[in-house]
Symmetry: C3
Subunit: 259 residues, 3 copies
């Protein structure tokens, strides 16, 4: 239904791999590389030119954008030039990703999320709907970031300082939380809903509140029904790197012995 | 201005009623039923295929989508197949509604709202801008949900559990509040701005805070100027089922004697 | 790359100035005035008709919309008719601005922001991503409003009351804060992240929390590293009216002696 070659515009300077589907009303700009078996749905913009384009429309050269193999970009996404996505990348609808952001493999970005540029993500990062990641954030692998979470980068707004937060592997940030500039969140952390995190959070800490404070080790946290779930990789594997293998075996095979 | 038949794509397998207007750059996919006197504005996608489509583009059959009579869908909306809207449905711009969601009559969904699928709404539900309703939520009738409210469904993220909240008739959730998984909000409740609701809230309670706690009966709540407004249906009727009738008479005529 | 005259629709009743670029898939409706040296990028809607259009599609007359000279409207924006923008206006992507809003010169509105109509802005207003400004808000000049901030206008929702907040010159509202109806925020204020402001805030106050309370004079506020930054105009000038002049000299030259 989506691939009728209606109002599709593909730059002559784009490279399109084998078995690629490009939806109606989609535009692929200069110097975009789309690898094999990728689906770009309808009404997308891939390789959006950066701000310099408007300063000199005629002479602008678009930086290279790379979409890894087996990726699925749903409709109405805007992906700027200069960003790179490793294989199995997928998105919801209306995602905006600014320039020079780097995603590892198997990352997912939910509907309406807004990635501000110059951000780096590890592998298997899962961002739900309407997540806002400010410039210069550094995010590990196997993380979950829930709706309406915001990463900020200016400690005394407005200023010329831009220091994004750092988020460690296997950490989780629940819905509506704000991560203040330059904060370091460790590995296997759990940040509760609607928190404002202004201090560094050590590995394995459950932190909540405004201002957020670490309140216990996640390994001691029982949910309402009284069962333990964290560290979550031992209890959740759908779509994860350790699916059908188990986290215990996977971590030994993949250099995560200490996690 | 909007209905010039420019770049409109309508599936041969869609059924379009009488006196229907379809805007420029809009696409209607397979098995969409649009009833009489509906306006679908420009740049909309109606009957968006679900995830199974991408697994087998050639053999996929799109579930039926029904848009009730006299509905108005503003521009840039994406409505998935398998969802059903009773009459007088209306939206703002850029609304996303996922598959298998059911809306009663006279519902409104504001700009940028993101309804995640498998959700049920009663009649006369009013969702303002940028509301996020997670999967499996159950929402009553005559409710108001204000901007940046989020309904969640996973009590120990990430997990395979998906238990959306339940919201009773005539309840109000103010701006920026988060409703945690499986929470039951009763009838005629008022949830204050920026609250995080993790416990069940009984009928007629005003609850606020993080974590939200019931602080008084809404019938005892006076605003800053000292007047009483709740239960609001006695004091507000614009666009409501009881407009020009009054809530007292309407509720007796419509089976709401106990409200 | 963006200006190929593909699927561009411009009303015969629009006035387009000199040296204007209009992107592919953009629609300009009736009675839009675009001044010289403006760039409207791709997939935009300028002069979106208001609600009365749908009541009588044939006889509707679109109010005048004015885009000031040297403005840059990025892709996928929807700007309603009846709004007016003074020179050097710029936007991110997917911005929605409803009818009858007035912007001074050098204003910026970030990606996904949703301006609800009948709002007035002074000059040099900077709204970041995903800001929601409710109807009838009044905003001064040289302000910064950060992501996910919401201005509200109904003190006892739902009701027929609509009283937007007022925000004074040089004030800053940090990420995720909610400004409650009819609240007056003075000049040079700083509202901390995730605050809910329900009381008037006097000039030069730093206010934080839910409910927000003034906690100190911004002129006494030191950041984590121990340095003073506020009033910020003395310490930040990039893109500001006083760039290369300095705030001290600028304010004397521009009638802000008392700021």
């Amino acid at each position: 239904m989506k691939f009728n070659n209606i109002n599709v515009t593909i730059s002559k300077n784009a490279k399109i791999g084998h078995n690629v589907l490009i939806g109606d009303n989609t535009t692929i700009y200069d110097n975009v590389v789309i690898n094999d078996n990728v689906i770009i749905a309808n009404n997308c913009i891939i390789g959006e030119p950066n701000n310099k384009y408007y300063e000199d429309v005629s002479n602008y050269i678009n930086p290279t954008t790379i979409i890894g193999k087996n990726s699925l970009i749903r409709s109405h996404c805007i992906i700027y030039s200069g960003s790179k996505f490793d294989e199995n990348f997928s998105t919801g609808h209306r995602v905006t990703i600014r320039e020079n952001s780097i995603f590892g493999h198997n990352c997912r970005v939910g509907t309406l999320s807004d990635i501000q540029g110059n951000v780096s993500f590890g592998d298997f990062c899962s961002l739900h709907s309407n997540v806002h990641i400010g410039q210069s954030s550094t995010i590990g692998s196997h993380v979950f970031i829930y709706p309406y979470v915001v990463f900020t980068n200016d400690p005394t707004p407005p200023s010329i300082v831009c220091k994004g937060p750092t988020m460690g592997d296997f950490s989780i940030i629940a819905v509506g939380s704000i991560i203040l500039p330059n904060v370091k969140i460790g590995k296997h952390c759990l940040i509760g809903a609607n928190s404002v995190v202004g201090i560094d959070i050590e590995d394995y800490q459950l932190a909540i509140g405004n201002p957020a404070k670490p309140i216990k080790d996640v390994r001691d946290f029982k949910n309402k029904e009284g069962y333990m779930h964290y560290p979550w990789p031992y209890n959740f594997e759908r779509g994860m790197a350790w699916e059908k293998i188990g986290f215990e075996k996977w971590k030994l095979d993949n250099g995560y012995e200490n996690d």
